[in-house]
């Protein structure tokens, strides 16, 4: 792959991130009210107080000026001050992003592992009973509404059975007093339900996609040749078909990131998982401009980078793209 191509793709990603940042800025400002409207049922906060708060956060400046200032700050990685969390947005993100990466990353790995595994089992004997049953199962799994699945798991496993915690990324009380082994166990216990929710849906998507891709390459020339040479069927699938079928899976990798981020909005909310999805829901509700725009920008950047990586991998792996 040429350096020019990589450069062009990177430039594209930068443009996408800029577009996302601008969209985020203007969309949130369409909303009526501002962070200081939402001071509960307290008649004690007078309009003068609110005006003073607005002034001290620069919300009284003209929109264009706020926009220019905002773009400059974003470039410096400075997302401003979060009203609702009482700290710099960047700091809140530093805490939240790794947690979402842990959750989404776990779900991503498991989805691909389980999904590709299921697809491999299916294409061994396409059309067989196993294939059909798995096909139905994956269809069901990827049709289930994520928030509903999450609620179901929450009620069954943490409330009715009481075997798993109801929410949070770690035990808020005991975690900091545990040794590292206990911490790992504690983290996994909290990770199980949200990650399972995302994985059930994600694995189904990967399985269905991968099965289709495998079936596409199985009838192709070089596999027919391999078969003619008497290579055993499982070996064909493993060695020849899978390698070719993994190409579209690279694209899938890029496409899965937005799906996972979207899923985490509901899943994080329901399981009180303090990641980006939860930040987003809270920030939208409390009109925390800085936070909402930052979450949208970070999510958009993650997606753009995911696509870039997928593009580059694809180009590196596929001679047609590399040379064309």
């Amino acid at each position: 792959m040429s350096a020019r191509l990589a450069l062009a793709r990177s430039a594209q990603a930068v443009v996408v991130i800029f577009v996302v940042a601008s969209l985020a800025f203007f969309l949130i400002r369409l909303a009526p009210g501002d962070p200081f409207t939402a001071a509960l049922n307290d008649p004690g906060i007078t309009e003068e107080v609110r005006t003073e708060w607005r002034r001290s956060y620069g919300l009284d400046a003209p929109l264009a000026e706020q926009y220019v200032r905002y773009l400059g700050a974003v470039v410096r990685g400075d997302f401003g001050w979060s009203f609702s969390m009482q700290r710099p947005v960047a700091e809140a993100l530093r805490a939240a992003v790794p947690r979402t990466m842990l959750l989404a990353g776990t779900a991503l790995l498991l989805s691909f592992a389980v999904g590709i595994g299921v697809a491999l089992v299916q294409v061994r004997h396409p059309g067989s009973m196993t294939d059909r049953v798995l096909n139905r199962t994956t269809l069901l799994a990827y049709s289930v509404p994520e928030f509903w699945l999450a609620l179901l798991l929450l009620f069954v496993f943490s409330l009715k059975l009481g075997v798993l915690p109801a929410g949070g990324a770690v035990d808020a009380v005991m975690h900091s007093r545990m040794n590292w082994m206990e911490r790992v166990v504690d983290t996994i216990r909290h990770l199980v339900l949200p990650a399972t929710t995302l994985t059930i849906v994600g694995a189904a998507v990967v399985a269905r996609y991968q099965r289709g891709a495998l079936l596409d390459v199985l009838p192709s020339d070089f596999i027919r040749t391999a078969r003619a040479k008497g290579v055993a069927e499982p070996a064909i699938v493993r060695r020849h078909a899978l390698r070719n079928a993994l190409l579209p899976t690279i694209t899938l990798l890029g496409l899965t990131i937005p799906a996972l981020l979207a899923g985490s909005v509901f899943v994080e909310k329901i399981f009180a998982w303090p990641g980006m999805g939860l930040l987003a829901v809270n920030a939208v509700a409390s009109r925390d401009y800085a936070m909402v725009t930052a979450v949208v920008v970070v999510a958009g950047t993650a997606v753009a980078l995911g696509n870039l990586v997928a593009d580059l991998l694809y180009a590196a792996a596929d001679p047609r793209v590399r040379d064309g």
Partner: protein, 558 residues
């Protein structure tokens, strides 16, 4: 607005009802209490706090000069006990009070608490750059002077029955040496905002925003260590998660149980509920003015008889049973039963659909075209009711109202708004009717501002519906000016009768405080205005300790 209004309202607060747990003995030291909270603290620097989520934490870390008594009396200093102040001296004309600080009082960093800190605190609360929501209550204080390092003197503009309360209740004393250098309009961004240092019986330990907040016992505190080792607020963004944490025993305290949980708790002997009258009332407020042009009258609600008819058409008793079971009672005007000032025998508008329909008929509202909705002169009897979507109980109640009014031929459109948008619409008077709620807190607000002509006419007033009645205003004024309780009560009853008869709102319900507690806790007496007030004296039964009670505190004690 006069700060006196609120103070007087507050001074008639009745004592809490409910069970009186045994006072813990000194041998019960240790243990952890976990509070399952549905919202994170809004701030921890006292003058910046506007919500109870922040107050309940800050009031553990910081001290008042004096603490209000369990009966919440606000007249004079009856019932108040010293906190930072050992004692106080009134001047003979009652225009100044000298507070004598305890010489052993120390900030959590070891520095002594002085009268300079007290004066600095007052300056901070009243500084326009700080824009503290509590500033209004302090308006009667002209100045604070330092007589000596342990004596701070408050000078008042007027002598009022509640001046002592107005000084001590809002002020949580903060350390001058740590805040002096911070620009006043940048307090929120200061290091102190996230690592506050106070003099309370708990000290700040850690704050993981939207996740958890922890305070630990200040073991060398001048008022004695908090019995508990620590209190942790665990934040869940979702009601279900928050309540599940409590129900499953992960947390010990949850402050807003619903009937469903109470029902479930019957099978869980480890949990108990503490019920108290609350200081909150909810109502459907009618807008007397045209939302498109506030100089004109509202096409429907300027009509007193129409408002009364609508009020009579809803079965509030059944609705309260439906949504709250026994956890709320029907409202009786802009008051709650927790106020001693409120007269619980006052006559409410009856639930009487026959009379309601008769009134509408006589006003000319008839369903001529048979579509089920009444009309008059080309206008249909139809309006929009704003509801904050965040309040599930109000949304449910609104759906019930909608159906009940449909039965008498009035059509209600529900408009479920996100909270900020809801408040904004009320403030700008752009609504037909809104499902509002006020908390009669010991804060700078009061009935003149929420229902009086004052609050209706000023652009920032809180009387969003624009109800104006000279009679009501006069009765309220007399009640608030009265020096003895009986006279105040008599005047207030007339005010209550007037506003109920005028029906500027349908007085829907008063929820009760439903504090869920783990039965392993031994609580101190629980104050109705702040269940957390006695946390430092709570303890955990030695026989019911859990692993979380035994873990060593995160921060070493000094």
């Amino acid at each position: 607005m006069s700060p006196r209004t609120t103070a007087l309202l507050a001074c008639f607060l009745a004592a809490a009802c409910g069970d009186e747990p045994a006072t813990p003995s000194a041998g019960d030291v240790g243990g952890t209490v976990v509070v399952s909270a549905a919202a994170d603290a809004d701030a921890l620097i006292p003058p910046l706090i506007s919500q109870s989520s922040g107050r309940q934490v800050a009031e553990q870390i910081f001290d008042r000069l004096a603490e209000i008594g369990g009966d919440l009396n606000t007249v004079g200093d009856d019932g108040f006990t010293g906190a930072l102040a050992r004692s106080w001296t009134w001047s003979s004309d009652s225009l100044s009070i000298a507070f004598h600080l305890r010489e052993d009082a120390r900030w959590h960093d070891g520095r002594p608490v002085t009268a300079h800190d007290v004066r600095f605190t007052w300056e901070l609360y009243t500084s326009p750059d700080v824009a503290s929501p509590a500033a209004a209550l302090l308006r009667n204080v002209d100045s604070v002077t330092v007589a000596d390092s342990l004596t701070a003197v408050f000078w008042y503009a007027d002598r009022t029955p509640a001046q002592f309360f107005e000084t001590t209740y809002p002020l949580l004393v903060v350390p001058r040496h740590l805040l002096e250098e911070v620009p006043r309009n940048r307090l929120r961004e200061s290091g102190f905002a996230r690592n506050p240092v106070g003099s309370g019986r708990f000290r700040f330990s850690s704050w993981n925003p939207s996740v958890s907040l922890e305070v630990v016992s200040d073991t060398t505190n001048y008022r004695g260590r908090a019995l508990l080792d620590r209190v942790i607020w665990v934040v869940a963004p979702d009601f279900n998660t928050a309540v599940t944490r409590y129900m499953s025993g992960e947390a010990d305290v949850f402050e807003m149980l619903r009937p469903e949980q109470i029902q479930e708790m019957r099978d869980r002997p480890s949990l108990r509920v503490h019920l108290m009258p609350s200081l909150e009332y909810h109502f459907v407020q009618f807008n007397m003015r045209d939302p498109r042009d506030t100089s004109r009258q509202h096409a429907l609600f300027a009509d007193r008889d129409l408002r009364r008819a609508l009020s009579m058409a809803v079965d509030r008793q059944a609705m309260v049973r439906n949504v709250f079971d026994t956890l709320a009672v029907v409202g009786m005007g802009p008051v709650t039963r927790a106020l001693r000032l409120a007269d619980t025998t006052v006559t409410l508008l009856p639930f009487d659909t026959v009379q309601a329909q008769a009134i509408l008929d006589s006003l000319g509202w008839r369903d001529a075209d048979g579509d089920g909705v009444r009309e008059r002169g080309g206008r249909t009897l139809e309006f929009t009711l704003l509801v904050p979507g965040s309040s599930r109980s109000r949304v449910r109640m609104a759906v019930l109202i909608q159906e009940q009014l449909r039965r008498i031929g009035a059509r209600v459109q529900l408009d479920q708004l996100e909270y900020a948008a809801f408040v904004e619409r009320g403030r700008s008077r752009r609504f037909d009717a809104m499902f509002g709620a006020w908390r009669i807190d010991v804060g700078p607000h009061g009935i003149r501002q929420t229902w009086g002509s004052t609050g209706s006419r000023s652009p920032n007033g809180l009387n969003y519906g624009g109800y104006e009645s000279a009679q009501f205003d006069a009765h309220v004024d007399s009640a608030l000016a009265a020096n003895d309780a009986a006279a105040a009560r008599a005047h207030f009853r007339r005010a209550q009768e007037t506003i109920i008869a005028d029906a500027p709102a349908i007085w829907m319900f008063e929820p009760r405080v439903t504090l869920g507690l783990h039965s392993r806790l031994r609580t101190a007496r629980i104050r109705p205005d702040a269940w957390w007030a006695g946390l430092a004296d709570w303890s955990v039964s030695p026989g019911q300790r859990l692993p979380r009670d035994e873990a060593a505190p995160e921060t070493a004690s000094r």
